[in-house]
């Protein structure tokens, strides 16, 4: 085994509960409902999201760890969970003022919020699970 420099991936999951709805302000109510179905209800509905943060790299030989999980937890909490958990994504998260809060866009948002706060090249992917049956993944601008 080329075990001197083995590259490993590590995925850690976080959870947050948020409300959202889909609405295009250039369309009227009927058009929005046609486009987005019951997700166009502006009173909002909600989900229990699972966010997976996938890191890659060579583990530290002393600790056997790719990254200090307590540091990762703090970074994810301050960069993402505090802004998303128990929030209305449409009304309280700036990024979604001009974008629909789909899980695709949540993955882009999570990457943007995390990539700069982690060592270069460490973040490999983010995945946003809106439910057990729907998940979006973003692997970065080169991915």
């Amino acid at each position: 085994m080329d075990s001197d420099r083995p590259v490993v991936r590590l995925a850690r999951s976080y959870r947050f509960s948020a409300a959202h709805f889909y609405w295009d302000p250039r369309l009227d109510a009927e058009e929005n409902e046609k486009l987005f179905g019951k997700c166009a209800n502006r009173h909002g509905h909600g989900h229990d999201y699972r966010l997976e943060v996938v890191l890659q790299g060579v583990p530290n030989p002393e600790t056997g760890m790719l990254f200090d999980l307590r540091e990762l937890d703090r970074t994810v909490a301050s960069a993402l969970l505090e802004r998303l958990d128990h929030r209305n994504l449409n009304h309280e998260v700036e990024f979604f003022a001009s974008r629909q809060p789909t899980c695709e866009n949540l993955a882009l948002y999570a990457w943007q919020a995390l990539a700069g706060r982690l060592p270069a090249g460490r973040l490999e992917a983010v995945r946003v699970h809106e439910s057990a049956d729907l998940v979006a993944e973003y692997r970065g601008p080169r991915g």
Copy 2:
């Protein structure tokens, strides 16, 4: 086995996504936040709920079934899911105009909505799972 009249229980699960928040209008913002924490955010947040409907009785000997599941599905859809799924519980469900939309109260609401639409004595319990780690159960006024 006293299999002529065996009493069986059957639990069927349904899912709905809804937004909610906790707020007592007699209290000010600070008091609400002290009482309800981040759930007091009136922009709302949300959950993917699982509703379990538990029936009991003697299965029909011809069909081997306690209850026709397609009929149960229709009843639960019209009595509950259409009113709760993709809704804001505080703003769109009358029952919660004067009650907090906790899972305890959701269980009371679900019982009230279903018991009268099912044959007498058939409904044994309703359970509302707000998450994998929190579930409320109501077994009716005698239970």
Copy 3:
């Protein structure tokens, strides 16, 4: 705590995969389809069942165990799993020659197969999970 003789419940899960279909031989094809929907397809379809066996009693003070799990596993395997796993319930299990293989009837079958092979009073309930969203429970002729 009345801990000299504490009564504890223990639930252990087993899994089996089986094929089945619903068909009443006194009805014609159209009537069967009306009654049972796509479950009336006599080519059969299938499920991954989970069987929960619930025991009750006072744990043995030396082992701290209500029942020897290896013995329970052997009993459930010989009394149930060997007869149900990778079988067609309609064609290969005598009990279902004259009953629909619903999860209600599977619970009755499991009770009948197990109760006599366990010490009197030990078996409290059997639960047959046909899917994550449908489960039948039988608590015995007195239950």
Copy 4:
């Protein structure tokens, strides 16, 4: 972020219940049982399958969505679920008349059924989960 043209992946899950068995008609019963074990029981057994359809591409900037999920649901229902759900794969699906209905072959079948009905390049992978512990993935002829 090169967010003008971010490539995102989206995985959506569908479920179906089917019966199957493994049998090579050129072998006799003993040889089939040696090769396939209890899966060689021609009465069939069954599973609750989960099918994951993985799409890739640039989300629509107006809707924030990679693909209209209602359209995807209709396509998967007509191309796959209606042919597989509550069916016996060996007896009722032409593709398996000459191939064993393993999850590997189900993944090939699902790709073949879906790829031509989706915009070119959109389908990235299909995954067929036969159980919580066994999943096959096919990423297409170039994959």
Copy 5:
């Protein structure tokens, strides 16, 4: 509905990771292995336990809650999780110095630790899930 005083049940789950092994000091190594199988390895092995705490009572009409969850979380953390999580049950928990750390005995231990710290009659049951397939329940000395 007798909704003035509806009795509701609420189950909340907690998780802890612990090591344990089974060993009867009055028996020799061979006898222990015969009795407990590979669980008799005194180097220990471990599990990720799920503890369910089930309360019952009439919800507070103002909050709609049976019990303040933050208070419950604090009570369970100090009475149980701090003593069990990331511990070796045999070596670090006094209760198991003279009892095998089975899930049956963990349920008795959890009841004993919690019942006196909650209002009289509030605790209805504790359940200790040693795995997805094995769970013990204790409903108290009267239960």
Copy 6:
């Protein structure tokens, strides 16, 4: 479809329960606790691990299978499960005498133990799930 030689991936999961702790012998107790938190408790704690073995290749056209699962099960049992299940990783697995038993290192260990016992090129990845929320993956020295 280029279905003459379709390359398919197959992931199969195995489970084991083990105890472990993190400790660097060159550091004192205080430094170890600072570095590893409550994982530095040398009495050990434990987890129920899930090991995913991912194979790739062209399925056998006769069996429709990428690999004989019974053979894979035997290989994984003898190469890994018998050495890890119901074991204390620190005290009983040589590989971890000089490495921390993190899930990153467990993935490296599992690859090393399996790759040589499978046909060249068949093993694509191993994943070690320490919990539902933490998983490490190793794709080999070229991966």
